[in-house]
Amino acid sequence: MFRFIVRRLLQLIPTLFGLSILLFIWLRRLPGGPETAILGERGTPEMRAAIRRNLGLDEPILIQYGRFVRRMIRLDLGTSISTKREVTTEFLQRFPGTVELTITAMVIAIGIGIPLGYLAARRRGQFLDHASVGGSLIGICIPVFFLAYILKAIFSENLGWFPSSGRQDPTLGATRITNFFVLDGLMTREWDAAADALWHLVLPGMALASIPLAIIVRITRASVLEVLNEDFVRTAEAKGLTENVVRRRHVLRNAMLPVATSIGLLTGGLLSGAVLTETVFAFSGIGAFLADSISQRDYPVLMGFIMIIAVVYVLVNLIVDLSYSLIDPRVRVR
């Protein structure tokens, strides 16, 4: 088990190295540099030249890369060109938002998806089944940003049930510790702040959850259908066990295996959705910030963030693998 983890983490190193090279080349290929982004209309060619020189963008790419690597080894990701703040700071300020959002989305997706998928399978061919399958299809096919707009228009603009943007009501002046607003609220016992933060998570969470929800419903349904045909379920029935026990212990526990896999994949993939959702809901996370940074040519931020994301992605999958070996005794990580 331990050796497995270590090996996986070691595998990370070459990946990151390769990734950094790819990124570096790509970034430097981008047309235009940060200088214009910084100066806007007012920049004169001279000013731009000066900035390029300052940023060392006129040096040969190898030297630039060398400098980058030296910093990476010191675990220093440099500072953002546009905000002049440490990239790590920027990350720590924005990542928690995305994490909260992702968790919310997954909670919604799993909380609704698995029961729904199970019922659909149990009531195969009946209304609920068709409804949930159809619904999930649409969930996959509806553009996230459009869904987000609709949700806002209905629940925020018209009904006014939920706030339409941001992570928390600024007038609360809540205390920041970890930048996980909900957690902070609990830790500082600012219950209203925590509640408000949660409240702000609902709509974006729903929007972001649409695709994973759809997929989880489908996978759960499929795998439950498969398990229901298994002999051991028949055995369980033959034992006269209560429906409840049969469902929990014999059907779901087995049906969850493929679902667990997909959940891992989805969590990793959610970041893409986050880019859109965060933009629509003016939600401060890394998704939208990354998109900006690309247009701003904020090289350090892009390099740093994408590297970190890659690490996180691998870690998520590692965790999934481990949890997988927890659910399924036949899988033993070596």
């Binding site: 731009r48 900035i51 205390t175 500082t188």
Partner: protein, 553 residues
């Protein structure tokens, strides 16, 4: 065993959380809640830095305008130079030394007295900038206005316009300049010339822009301790929540702010801002889409329209295509574009077709210049004369950007190119991302024939418009017109305002004859406030003062 392992994990986490909870302390004093003395205002982007000396982006300046004050400031709702921290000012005979009489009894937020000394400390700080602080990335506006430093570290920098600052007595300061310039005193209204508290600058060593060339780090002052004399004090910048909180400066020298606290909340998406206003999360926002003005008014929101203090033009690059060097062709282009239709259909109410390269609110505007009415036939004829009937032009336009003078570039492009095609000109559309791709492509090199660009005035002087565009050879236009350039120099160095204005009139006439590009429109940007918010006056320079804002009961 197996089943219980996850439970254990959860328990552990919970325990940890509680442990932390034990030591974590709420550091907020009685939260104001959503009471009627807090205004949350939606803005399009995070401010980049809180020290306006280093800022060039609108959002940073918006904050600076509430926290800091300048020697002279634009009159409320206008562009004329009016008293700020200085009650009066006058140039000497030569027009190179200006003496300012300062307001007395003014204190900075940190309690330091404001006086002539303080002013000089500030100017000297900018003038004596060293190292990275000379990077155009850091002090863009100073370089734009003054052109250089005491000791230039980069040969591309020129001689500084600013020479010295002398405090004759606590309330009298005189600034000496190396030459006469149209920029003085108007340019001193720019927030970048805000006066900071010397003690605070000292305490947080504000001038220490550290780090290596390729990762500049701002000093703490610029991100956490901006200290000015303005009606609002900086309270907190909550980056993770994209909000910046200011609170009332209780011992402001003038009339105190009506709001207890003012919060700027970043919502980059235009629709998102609108939706948030409707759902009550914010009580106002800037950069209202032209299409939203009427609906929002209809719903009873206070939509303020700023006097149009900008220009949108169609630039023509004479280097790009030799044919464009031919005046007839340029005239043909001017005649081919139906500017009236564009203004009517695309721009908010109050927008006008431009006849000069600056709006008539600026002195020196000239109504009596060659105008080019919409006339497709004439355009065709001119093209034929110039033997350019089969003209193909590369038309650059920016994507996903909204400028105060240019609501939806893509839409405008589609209209204009349709017009040009109607006149028999072939168009090769080249859409680029506004920043940096578009700006790079259009302001350097010669790969561009036509493109949109515009300008919002920094202060109420014509030179800030036409000077910026035409006073020297630029890749944007790709022409060389020594006579014109000479005239600009002359105007810039004319001390007597009246005489200068007269020159501006001539310049406008010349420009419209020479027709380096086609001025299209001046459009009034809108800013909206909640139904019960009053007291704010829209400013052509986007210098809105929230101090006067209040909720009417």
């Amino acid at each position: 065993m197996r089943a219980s392992r996850p439970k254990v994990a959860i328990a552990a986490v919970a325990a940890a959380a509680l442990a932390v909870a034990g030591c974590a302390e709420s550091d907020r004093e009685g939260s104001s809640g959503n009471s009627k003395d807090t205004l949350v205002f939606g803005v399009a982007g995070d401010p980049k830095v809180l020290d306006p000396s280093f800022a060039s982006d609108g959002e940073s300046l918006r904050v600076a305008r509430q926290v800091f004050e300048t020697l002279v400031r634009p009159e409320e709702g206008g562009t004329k130079v009016s008293p700020g921290l200085a009650e009066s000012w006058e140039p000497d005979a030569a027009g190179t030394t200006w003496t300012f009489k300062l307001r007395s009894g003014v204190k900075f937020h940190d309690g330091t007295d404001f006086n002539a000394e303080a002013v000089c400390v500030n100017f000297d700080r900018w003038y004596n900038a060293k190292g990275l602080m000379q990077s155009p990335d850091v002090t863009a506006y100073w370089q734009d206005v003054m052109g250089g430093f005491a000791a230039n570290e980069d040969d591309t920098l020129g001689e500084s316009l600013f020479k010295s600052c002398t405090a004759t007595d606590p309330t009298t300061v005189s600034l000496a300049f190396t030459r006469v310039s149209s920029k003085i005193p108007a340019a001193l209204m720019l927030p970048s010339f805000s006066i900071h508290s010397p003690t605070a600058l000292q305490a947080h060593d504000a001038s220490n822009v550290s780090g290596s060339a390729d990762d500049i780090k701002y000093p703490a002052y610029a991100t956490e301790h901006p200290t000015g004399t303005g009606p609002f004090k900086f309270k907190a910048w909550d980056v993770p929540n994209k909000t910046l909180t200011l609170e009332r400066n209780e011992d402001y020298w003038g009339e105190k702010a009506k709001l207890k606290s003012l919060i700027f909340k970043t919502i980059s998406d235009e629709n998102a801002r609108k939706q948030e206003l409707r759902s009550g999360g914010i009580q106002g926002y800037d950069l209202v889409g032209p299409a939203d003005v009427e609906p929002l008014k209809g719903e009873g929101f206070n939509v303020l329209t700023r006097p149009a203090f900008n220009i949108l033009y169609l630039a023509i690059n004479q280097k790009g295509n030799p044919k464009l060097a031919d005046l007839k062709v340029r005239q043909a282009l001017a005649h081919a574009v139906n500017r009236q239709a564009l203004v009517d259909s695309k721009l908010p109410p109050g927008a006008q077709v431009a006849v000069n390269f600056f709006p008539d609110t600026v002195e020196g505007w000239n109504g009596d210049v060659t105008k080019y009415e919409y006339d497709v036939e004439k355009a065709k004829a001119l093209l034929a004369e110039a033997g350019a009937s089969d003209l193909t032009l590369r038309f650059h336009y920016p994507t996903e950007v909204t400028r105060p003078y240019m609501p939806n570039p893509k839409d405008l492009f589609e209209l204009v190119s349709a017009d040009l095609q109607a006149a028999g000109i072939k168009i090769e559309p080249i859409p680029l991302k506004w920043s940096p791709d578009y700006l790079n492509a259009t302001t350097s090199g010669d790969k561009h024939d036509l493109h949109f660009l515009g300008w919002t005035g920094d202060y109420g002087d014509g030179y800030n418009f036409i000077g910026t565009f035409f006073d020297r050879q630029k890749d944007e236009w790709g022409y060389n017109n020594p006579a014109l350039f000479e005239k600009f120099k002359q105007a810039d160095s004319t001390a007597d305002p009246a005489a200068r204005v007269a020159l501006y009139k001539e310049l406008n006439a010349d420009i419209m004859n020479f027709l380096p590009g086609v001025p299209i429109s001046h459009s009034p940007p809108a800013i909206v406030f909640g139904k019960d918010v009053t007291g704010v006056t829209a400013s052509p320079l986007t210098d809105e003062r929230f101090a006067t804002a209040e909720f009417k009961s």
